[in-house]
Symmetry: C2
Subunit: 664 residues, 2 copies
């Protein structure tokens, strides 16, 4: 047991490291680390199961700092506990170029940072995915191998963001009892008191969604410990409302918004030193306190070793699968399974919507991979995301592999990110492409973190028909392609769909979006090729019969239109190539030679996509022809819409001939 005095000094070490780092950086957020230092100290000295010497231990407890602006709390902890990545020099270099201690915690910058946070509410929603992944793996591998907690520190902002409701409703529904959210209830937001903008009784709100709730003094170590203890025993997820004082210890700024997001200043820091009886120089933690922290860092080493023994004791087969899944590698048999499937498609390539082709591909994938976890934001029958292998996950019952996420696109995407971050599972989830807008902040974070969340976005154009402009994506392909490190696939038929799925699954360091049609399409890849052509991002689907005069680029549902136009042009004696473009980002990664070859700059260049032109200039240049959308869609049967908006083979043929005549 740690004495109150020792607790205070350990907590103050967090406070002073945080204050000093923010002061030195001349920017940052001291208020949260100072206010939440007591909670963090109790959590890490009495409860957290983790090992700084083995930060990737699969069964460690996860700690998510959802209020990411308080990053110095996390960096201080990692330094004090002995995580090698965070040295005192890193603390001193807080917010400087190339440091591991970025303004907000960035996943991948240092071990111990479980997720990137800063955009509020995301960490909370990630944690739901982590806690869900833990239960899913527990259902498969048992308590011996997977049985840990997920702790979250959330601020008022996290709880005000709408995503929080999606996350807590899902967690409450599924009874994720090993999820413990600690709310830093400091009653202060940036504009001033929270009462300026909110009157919500958060405990009542969480209770309404099936949570256990506890209120406790966030500065009383025993009260903090009792609350966490009770939370661990609950059969429901728990919210602990820890009443705290933001900037605790600052005589003139504590409890106000002045301490939230800017350095305290030398004078006030001196005052805090006096107030808290801290005599060490900036960035110096007295050696006895540092020793106490380092000891705390060792507290789970034995547990970790015991876990390793248990892992060593399970069957070789189970161990191999568990370790492979936690590494994120696919089984060696996977590529062969896809290849076999492609062979089969080569024989019978059916006329299908790509969403149906995706379902067929998933039947193969979900057989080959035990780690895929499917789901949809209440559009299962439309997104075609559920296959025969996937039983539904139910409240408190996690043997299934399919999540009914509810009408919660944002919460789904962020939970998927949490699952991908946890490891051992590969999450995919569906909604309509137009509602990628709802999920976008989480999709961006998946890209920034470089994690394998796979978004299945069906109804990907005006081709969805009668639901009209609210449901018809027009700018969404461009907007998603704009996100760095995000693979946006738009396959044209069953073979391309299988190939895109393969690349998405084999890419460990980036998320993918598959944009899929509602409407049926003519297959365009009828002869079996072992090579994954989609992996090049763009490829020549049909060569010209002679030296090409026209190149038609297209993606997805418009490839069949490009093929039709090409055949018409060839019929009129105009040698024409068709280039299928399933993924812009992969194309950019090809060699200059390949790209030049493909672009065919000496031909008339036409691109066809039932979306806006933005981005297609890359393929057709300034003087190319774009056939697509200029504004929002309309409500009508799909074939009429294609006619109405002029996205037809005839339009492409006319445009090509007009250009060729002009050039003559």
């Amino acid at each position: 047991m740690i004495s109150r005095d020792k607790h205070d000094r350990m907590a103050n070490a967090i406070r002073f490291l945080s204050m000093d780092a923010v002061e030195q950086a001349k920017s940052g957020h001291p208020g949260l680390p100072m206010g939440a230092a007591d909670i963090a100290t109790v959590l890490y000295t009495r409860f957290m199961t983790h090992d700084p010497k083995k930060p990737d231990w699969a069964d460690r407890d996860r700690f998510v700092l959802s209020a990411g602006h308080g990053s110095m709390l996390l960096y201080s902890l990692l330094y004090l506990l002995g995580y090698e990545d965070i040295t005192i020099d890193e603390i001193k270099n807080f917010r400087q170029l190339g440091s591991r201690t970025a303004g907000h915690p960035e996943y991948g910058y240092a071990a111990g940072i479980e997720t990137t946070t800063g955009p509020l509410g995301q960490g909370l929603a990630n944690s739901v995915g982590m806690a869900l992944a833990e239960r899913l793996l527990n259902a498969r591998y048992g308590d011996e191998l997977v049985n840990h907690y997920t702790y979250v520190l959330a601020g008022d902002g996290c709880l005000m963001e709408g995503i929080s409701q999606e996350a807590i409703a899902l967690a409450g529904h599924l009874k994720l009892n090993k999820l413990i959210v600690m709310w830093d209830d400091n009653q202060i937001s940036i504009d001033g008191p929270v009462s300026l903008s909110d009157s919500t009784d958060q405990c009542a709100r969480f209770a309404a969604s099936g949570w256990n709730t506890i209120r406790a003094d966030g500065h009383d170590p025993d009260a903090i410990a009792s609350a966490i203890e009770a939370a661990r025993e609950s059969d429901l997820p728990t919210l602990i409302a820890f009443r705290t004082t933001i900037g605790y210890g600052s005589p003139n700024k504590a409890g106000t918004n002045k301490v939230h997001g800017s350095p305290l200043g030398a004078e006030e820091i001196a005052a805090v030193r006096k107030e808290l009886g801290w005599e060490a120089e900036p960035f110096v933690v007295p050696s006895d306190i540092l020793d106490d922290w380092r000891l705390a860092g060792l507290r789970s080493a034995k547990e970790r070793k015991e876990w390793e023994k248990r892992l060593a004791a399970v069957s070789a087969e189970v161990r191999a699968e568990f370790e492979r899944r936690m590494r994120g590698d696919l089984p060696e048999s996977f590529a062969g399974a896809i290849d076999d499937y492609k062979k089969k498609l080569g024989e019978e390539n059916p006329k299908l919507a790509t969403r149906a082709a995706s379902e067929n591909a998933l039947e193969v994938i979900n057989d080959a991979l035990s780690e895929t976890i499917g789901g949809s934001a209440d559009l299962t029958g439309s997104n075609n995301t559920r296959t025969s292998q996937l039983g539904a996950v139910k409240p408190g019952e996690f043997s299934g592999r399919y999540i009914h996420y509810g009408i919660r696109e944002h919460g789904m995407a962020a939970a998927m990110n949490g699952m991908a971050l946890h490891g051992g599972v590969i999450p995919y989830g569906g909604t309509f492409l137009t509602f990628s807008d709802y999920a976008r902040p989480a999709m961006r974070l998946a890209s920034l973190m470089g994690i394998r969340s796979i978004f299945v976005m069906t109804h990907d154009s005006i081709g969805l028909g009668e639901d009209g402009p609210t449901h018809q994506p027009v700018e969404h392909l461009a907007a998603l392609r704009a996100i760095p490190n995000h693979l946006v696939f738009r396959p044209a038929d069953p073979v391309e769909t299988a190939e895109c799925w393969q690349v998405a699954l084999e890419t460990k360091d980036a998320p993918s979006t598959l944009a899929l049609t509602r409407q049926k399409l003519e297959p365009v890849r009828n002869d079996y090729k072992s090579e994954n052509l989609c992996a090049r991002g763009a490829y020549e689907l049909l060569a010209a019969s002679d030296e090409a005069k026209v190149t038609i680029f297209a993606s997805g549902s418009e490839v069949e239109i490009a093929v039709d136009a090409r055949n018409q042009l060839e019929g009129r004696g105009v040698p024409t190539r068709v280039v299928s473009v399933p993924c812009f980002e992969l194309f950019e990664a090809q060699s200059d030679e390949y790209k030049d070859m493909l672009l065919g700059k000496n031909t008339v260049r036409i691109a066809i996509e039932a979306g806006i032109s933005m981005g297609w200039e890359r393929f057709i240049g300034e003087d190319g022809v774009f056939i697509g959308m200029k504004g929002f869609g309309a409500s009508a049967p799909a074939p009429e819409l294609y006619e109405h908006f002029g996205i037809t083979a005839e339009a492409a043929v006319q445009a090509a001939e007009a250009r060729l005549n002009k050039a003559d």
Copy 2:
């Protein structure tokens, strides 16, 4: 009082029109109109204050069908009540090209459609803005002119979406007591029973955010009426949980997800006819029932006339302002006020961040316009959105003009849309540009509807510095420019900021986003010009000293870099122009001659923007030089980041010279 029998027959008229229209369209959603017909009938026969002959009556009650997929409920009502825009032919043409009866209700397609709905939760959040606008106008004009209810019909999806939490927390906090949300509690979602994905006690949840809540049988007319009556008397916003049966009346499909989103089929419709004793042919409403409905449509005509008398009785000045504001016109003095301000800037054009320049412009604007309503999602001091005129709106107290929206970007944007739709106010609201992702679904709807919501998005690039990649927009300018009918402004200095604000405010039929810097910038427009140059979208800021060899395009904070590069190049004898590009969309609307002149295709073309290149190909062509971002940002002081990512005048000079040498 309407007899039960008459009520049933009136409600059945909605049911059969809806079933028949969906059947004829071969797609659509009959379940909600059938289930909510009783609620709608009671609302429109006993409570709604509106006049089909004067649909734009300013003080009418607003009805928002947040569950927009149930559009046939609304179209049936509008037809039955006698709104001229919705004829029986329009009902028959449900979901057909060019009809007013699109798959989801589209604002502007027909009078009586108060907002575009379909993306779930949006209507509910719009309604918060409508109810807020009502109270704000009431505070200014009194009960005599503005005193009406806002009714919402919301489904399970609306309540599951995270935006609903932001909306209800804001409404509860502000005590918007004239807001009444009727929840169609049918316990069915698309995947099946709501219990597949949710266990939330919605009444408890709303109560936790300060709402009055009532439960009632949604098929008992008197219970419905009592509930609405009680809601109207509450001093809190009210949720009425109406327990209903989806697809009420369908013997084989009612109460299941089978009736949600597809036609019932001829056989089942015949069964419903039998079940409900309805003998009329498809699309025929027996004349006595139609008469009853048309009578219901007349119930507020007298009230409307009395209101017009009251309006006629107020002072000419007040009436003129009220009418002008409701029309959405600006006062004639506005342009002059901006011009005077520009003159003043021409003298002293200070070195400011554009967010500070925006605050200065708003001081002028908020003086000139009584209708602007400012706000921020808890970043008031960072977004610089509050000016001296704007007192804060408080719970139950609406004399202010500034909204503390809380950490609720999505709810803010959707509430702003509701305010713009209500009319009489012009809402603007701020957050960081990177968090436009959170607000994006509502920003898209503003564009689709063509309404004047103005989004103030500060911290618009890596120039924000240390907060790092989560907070640094990289793809956001491109992603917002991708949305049709959305003016994205990125002004370079105080003069451009004032000009962009002017265009945003003068554009009644499109939303605007102003992307503004955190960091200070050198002014680039130091000589007064009366013409609003930004209104052209792009213009030549600096001519070349001789026939131009290089054109540098830039926006916002990179214009000063372009000017620097230009001066260096001119110093080396390379005649160079600078084109400032504050708004892509406005540039596209210019004449071909102007565009050709500006693009300078015979020069080496360079674009500089601290974002991704997507979209800039329009200016620099396939072979131009883009100086900007290729991936995510980093955490460091801003000047270091510009160096690190190579966004410098030197890089532009080097690139220009390399191209010129290559060309030689």
